[in-house]
Amino acid sequence: MRVLVVEDDDILRAAVETGLGMSGFTVDAVETVDDARAAFHAWDYDAAVLDIALPDGSGLELLDGWRKEGSTVPVLMLTARNATRDRIHGLDCGADDYLGKPFDLDELAARLRAIARRGQGRALPTLHWGELALDPAARRVTLAGKPVSLPRREFAVLEALMEQPEHVRSRAQLEERLYGWQEEVGSNAVEVHIHNLRSKLGRDSIATVRGEGYRMGRP
């Protein structure tokens, strides 16, 4: 899952970036409203974390702009303004969830998974396709009940494909999910991950759609 984090405090931003990274998120962290706007238009995000008080504006205004543009990206407000009326105001401005500072990193990750899941129209926290089951919270994959060990990026590719198993994901889309904007992407990195996944889950587990990308194979 690729997440945009907008937070002006250097130390907290680094912590959220690292912490969400450890929970398997791909994180882009920015400091200002301007940077957030630029990043938001350049990439597809599965969720965003917004602080309210930013040096060059308000996170709520930013959110309002996105919603008016028709964006449905799930947004979690992460702010020290945590009075009930602030939370109500934030949610009514189009936020999907609200978390007050200081917070627990695991809770932040869980809430992000929850709002992303709801955004995709799913209620079940785990992903299923045929005999394959993926638990995003526990970062566990089982095939016919037997655990399969996957490194972080392979897990992320599989998660991206299983979220909407019948949709085709392009290589670029998968790369976006895998790498933050500051990370170097190997030229055939996605192919390598797909190859590794097929060798662990079975040849037909992931289908290649020529000229378009990948999707889950018929179970």
Binding site: A14, A15, T18, M22, T32, A80, K101, P102, D104
Partner: protein, 459 residues
């Protein structure tokens, strides 16, 4: 305990007693004079009457019976005390009334005289009747006259004492009634909740109480403003502390759970700098609240600018060296003193120079200099950093506001603190972007708050 009621009562009652006593003394003297005059006239009349009786009898009654004389005044209560003697011119007693002594009542010639006989003091009128060759003496016992005056006075004094007691009771309860509005205000104040700053009901207050009620209401307004400020300040401070705390908590979580040692170490270092930042924020909050508490006191003392600037330069020396920034303190400020407390001046310079260092590129120069015009004396801290975007200049001095170009561990409080300190000294803070690049932070003092101390300059 001092009581308004008791004091009013004492004042009123002693004023009343004083006035009444004066009136009583006056009455005593005027009554005595009146009694004297009336009784003297009676003596004259009585003597005249005796003389005419003697004359009418044409010598037949050579000795008028005392009864005759006494009967003329029988009805009067004091008649028995009125004494009459008829003497011949050569002091032979012709006749006397029963109460009269046998010795002559008076020795002198005609008219009034006083004389003591057997311990009694007599006032006597002597009438000489030359045709009959008689001397008629009519006298009053003076003790009787005194009794008469004291009876009049006693008759006056008793009702006065009774009246005074009645008046005292009336005054006491009247004062009590008059003080009811004060009790009402006190009652309203005592039953008031601590958080209630609504004005007292002035409509019911009397004219005399209104200044008090108005003053109390004004105090309420000021207290409410102070409280609102404090609430706002505490809320903002708590709010500002949440972010570094969130950073601390998140990094602690990472340090505890991260698998690789590099991530753990990075988080621990972040925790360290986050603690530094939080303690700096707390320091600034304390500075701010201290300055706010003293906001009303005008500094009477004078502080040397050069000394304060040197102190700040010393504080920042390691940082300046690390960034190889040249802090240039204009020597022309030597000897200049500003009407501000020295700690406040150092606090201002520390914040402004600190900000400048934060934004100054490595190897640049920060200048602290004086600019004098007719209307003001400016202390300028100028850096060669990026300056502040012009649209942010207006709001940058607000509390907890940091510019979009903010760097490093700032709290957004520094400029607010500087402004508070300067405001107290009658000075103001102005921020200007320099023409090329950089920011001028200007402490603008009125000329009256600046003086040249030659002693400082020579040293």
């Amino acid at each position: 305990m001092k009581s308004l009621r008791a004091r009013l009562f004492l004042l009123l009652i002693s004023a009343t007693i004083a006035v009444w006593s004066a009136a009583a003394i006056w009455t005593y003297f005027s009554t005595r004079a009146d009694v004297q005059r009336v009784l003297d006239r009676r003596l004259v009349e009585a003597a005249g009457m005796v003389a005419s009786l003697v004359k009418d009898s044409n010598g037949a009654i050579s000795r008028p019976t005392p009864a005759q004389i006494a009967s003329s005044n029988q009805q009067a209560e004091y008649a028995r005390q009125l004494s009459c003697q008829i003497w011949t011119l050569d002091w032979r007693l012709v006749g006397r009334s029963a109460s009269a002594p046998t010795v002559p009542l008076a020795a002198q010639g005609p008219g009034f005289s006083e004389r003591s006989i057997q311990g009694q003091r007599w006032r006597v009128y002597t009438l000489i009747e030359p045709t009959q060759g008689l001397r008629i003496l009519v006298g009053d016992n003076l003790s009787v006259r005194r009794n008469l005056v004291s009876d009049v006075l006693a008759g006056l004094l008793l009702p006065a004492v009774v009246g005074l007691i009645a008046l005292g009771i009336l005054i006491w309860s009247a004062i009590g009634r008059a003080l009811i509005p004060i009790h009402r205000v006190a009652g309203e104040l005592s039953t008031r909740q601590p958080g209630d700053a609504a004005p007292l009901r002035t409509a019911s207050a009397d004219i005399e109480l209104r200044p008090l009620v108005d003053a109390i209401n004004e105090l309420f307004v000021r207290l409410e403003m102070l409280r609102a400020n404090e609430r706002h300040f505490i809320a903002s401070a708590a709010h500002e502390l949440q972010t570094p705390l969130a950073g601390l908590k998140a990094h602690a979580h990472i340090a505890l759970t991260a698998a690789d040692s590099e991530t753990r170490e990075r988080s621990l270092r972040s925790i360290q700098s986050s603690v530094d930042r939080t303690s700096r924020l707390v320091h600034q909050l304390l500075d701010l609240s201290r300055e706010e508490a003293e906001a009303d006191s005008f500094p009477g003392e004078w502080a040397g600018l050069a000394r304060a600037a040197e102190a700040v330069a010393d504080e920042f020396a390691p940082l300046l060296e690390r960034k190889s920034i040249n802090l240039h303190i204009d020597p022309s400020m030597e000897g200049l003193e500003f009407q501000i407390d020295e700690a406040g001046l150092i606090l201002c310079l520390r914040n402004l120079v600190g900000n400048a260092i934060e934004h100054a590129p490595d190897g640049s120069t920060i200048e602290v200099r004086i600019e004098e015009t007719a209307s003001c004396v400016d202390v300028v801290v100028a850096d060669e950093g990026p300056g502040i975007p012009s649209k942010e200049l207006a709001g940058i001095k607000q509390r907890f506001v940091r510019g979009s170009r903010a760097r490093g561990p700032g709290s957004g409080l520094g400029l607010s603190i500087v402004e508070l300190v300067l405001e107290r000294a009658g000075a103001e803070l102005e921020l200007l972007n320099r023409p090329q690049s950089g920011l001028s932070a200007i402490m603008r003092f009125p000329p009256s708050a600046v003086r040249l101390n030659r002693a400082l300059r020579s040293s």
